[in-house]
């Protein structure tokens, strides 16, 4: 299970895109069923972009939160239990607040990875302006015609990366 969740981390994104196409294209069983029952088309749609980026970025979130949960001092949970808290209450009022910084860090990290996603997105959802074109895809296209626009967009992405890096430096970088 853990290996399956972490697979997209080591998989080349294009291969991930191919895998998503084989699973969710209209001709595949799952994709066809989703279309027939819910009228849902994932390939070459905005929803497809979301799916591709979640697929690629999820492991960053999972790995951060999992490490945090593993490091929670269980004695706090035992104290909470001895005070009469049910398992759910222990999780909601003790465990979750104690890992909250890592949940935030994992989300930001996954978001930053998704923001830069290129391979799986273009393979699975295509590059349709206004529908499935993401910032990195736009940078790539602009590079062939309007070089200055490409540089400007790249600077925006660079700035975002820098902000994420500064924001997470205590949580993620120092510890590693």
């Amino acid at each position: 299970m853990r290996g399956l969740v972490l697979l997209p981390m080591v998989l080349p994104p294009v291969v991930g895109g191919v895998a998503l196409i084989s699973a969710f294209s209209l001709r595949s069983p799952i994709g066809g069923w989703l279309h027939d029952v819910f009228g849902l088309q994932l390939t070459f749609s905005t929803k497809g972009v979301v799916l591709a980026e979640v697929f690629v970025a999820m492991p960053f979130y999972v790995i951060t939160v999992e490490a945090a949960l593993r490091n929670v001092d269980q004695r706090y949970e035992q104290v909470a239990a001895s005070l009469g808290a049910s398992r759910f209450t222990v999780f909601r009022r003790v465990t979750l607040p104690m890992v909250a910084p890592s949940v935030g860090a994992g989300a930001v990290l996954a978001w930053a990875r998704a923001l830069g996603e290129f391979g799986a997105t273009i393979t699975f959802a295509g590059n349709i302006v206004g529908r499935t074109q993401t910032l990195p895809l736009a940078v790539y296209l602009k590079l062939e015609g309007d070089g200055e626009a490409a540089i400007a967009l790249s600077l925006v992405l660079l700035l975002v990366s820098f902000v994420v890096l500064v924001g997470l430096r205590d949580k993620w970088l120092v510890r590693a």
């Binding site: 001092d73 004695r75 706090y76 035992q78 239990a81 001895s82 005070l83 009469g84 209450t89 009022r93």
Partner: protein, 351 residues
């Protein structure tokens, strides 16, 4: 609302097998060296360590009985546990830490906080209600942890080394506070400690735990008056000798010496001698003391005005003399001396 338990737990090299009994409103101290299984007793009572054998009955309710397949989960035991490291929730305010218990048991947020505020006032920390635990000193955190455990009126309160995390200055004051709060508590208290002073101040009964079994247990006064193990005697700072009694003489088991006693004894006997009853001389004494043994000084401990002199010989002893007489005798490790004890200063009881 009494506690009646027989605890059998096997945990690595520790084989715990001990009876724990206490009445409502009393404090039982579990005293023992590190690794004896003291904390395991608390974990078993709290439901964090299932029993391998025996049973726990609290306030007429069976909490754990492996033979009958009964096991009540920690959250349903009505047991307050104050951990050695206190473990106040760092993300909650002091008030919400104390309110955690009632809140978890379905009381509304407002009512829980009101109840918590009453307890914070009781421990004198209402001014810190909105602070995080980080802002508290060790002694204050200790009082908050106690309030958090007591707010739900548990049947049983467990204290694990309640004073060991505090510095020496606050320890005495906190011990006094603790004594006052425990006196008001209607349930059973079990306090684990390695400091005999905690037991003397806080408890009425004591279980001395060594290697997972009770080497001695009963009323505190009884245990301190008649130590039955080296560990207890050392805690009390007294000399404990074991031997075979014949008339007015106790022949020691281990060292080959003999002790004259005032009352006739027969069979296996413990003899205790207070260190201050031992007198030291440089030459073999003449006089009324019927016990006189040659000895070698092995070690010296300075305790303020008094000096404890450790002696080796046919009757190994600790003598307590004044610093002035130490200077007069000019003793050091290796010095040869004579130790004398009056027969009337030797207390005896059957082993």
């Amino acid at each position: 609302m009494s506690l009646d338990a027989r605890l059998e737990v096997r945990l690595g090299s520790l084989a715990l097998d001990v009876d724990v009994q206490a009445d409502a409103g009393t404090v039982l101290a579990v005293l023992g060296p590190n690794g004896a299984g003291k904390t395991t007793i608390l974990r078993a009572l709290a439901g964090l360590q299932p029993l391998a054998g025996g049973a726990i009955e609290l306030a007429g309710r069976v909490l754990d009985d492996p033979q009958a397949g009964t096991f009540v989960a920690p959250e349903h035991r009505r047991v307050g546990f104050v951990h050695q490291d206190l473990l106040l929730f760092p993300h909650l305010s002091v008030l919400d830490n104390v309110a955690f218990g009632p809140r978890s048991n379905g009381t509304s947020k407002v009512a829980s906080r009101a109840e918590a505020r009453v307890w914070l006032e009781r421990v004198g920390l209402e001014a810190y209600a909105n602070e995080r635990p980080k802002a508290l000193s060790g002694g204050q955190a200790q009082r908050v942890a106690l309030a958090r455990a007591l707010v739900g009126h548990p049947d049983l309160l467990l204290l694990d080394e309640p004073l060991s995390a505090l510095d020496v200055g606050t320890r005495a004051a906190t011990r006094r506070d603790l004594h006052r709060h425990l006196a008001d508590f209607a349930g059973v208290t079990v306090v684990v400690t390695h400091d005999p002073l905690d037991a003397l101040v806080l408890a009425q009964d004591v279980v001395v735990l060594e290697d997972g079994v009770a080497s001695q247990s009963g009323a505190l006064a009884e245990v301190t008056a008649r130590p039955r193990s080296r560990y207890v005697a050392d805690l009390l700072g007294t000399n404990l000798l074991r031997g075979e009694g014949r008339g007015h003489v106790v022949a020691l088991d281990a060292e080959g010496g003999a002790v004259e006693v005032a009352e006739a004894v027969d069979g296996p006997t413990f003899a205790t001698i207070s260190p201050s009853a031992v007198t030291l001389h440089l030459r073999a004494p003449e006089g009324s003391a019927r016990n006189a043994w040659p000895a070698t000084v092995t070690d010296l401990d300075l305790l303020g005005e008094r000096v404890r002199v450790h002696l080796d010989g046919p009757v190994p002893l600790v003598a307590e003399i004044t610093a002035a007489s130490l200077a007069a005798l000019a003793l050091g490790p290796g010095s040869a001396v004579w130790a004398t004890v009056k027969a009337t200063e030797v207390a005896t009881y059957p082993a």
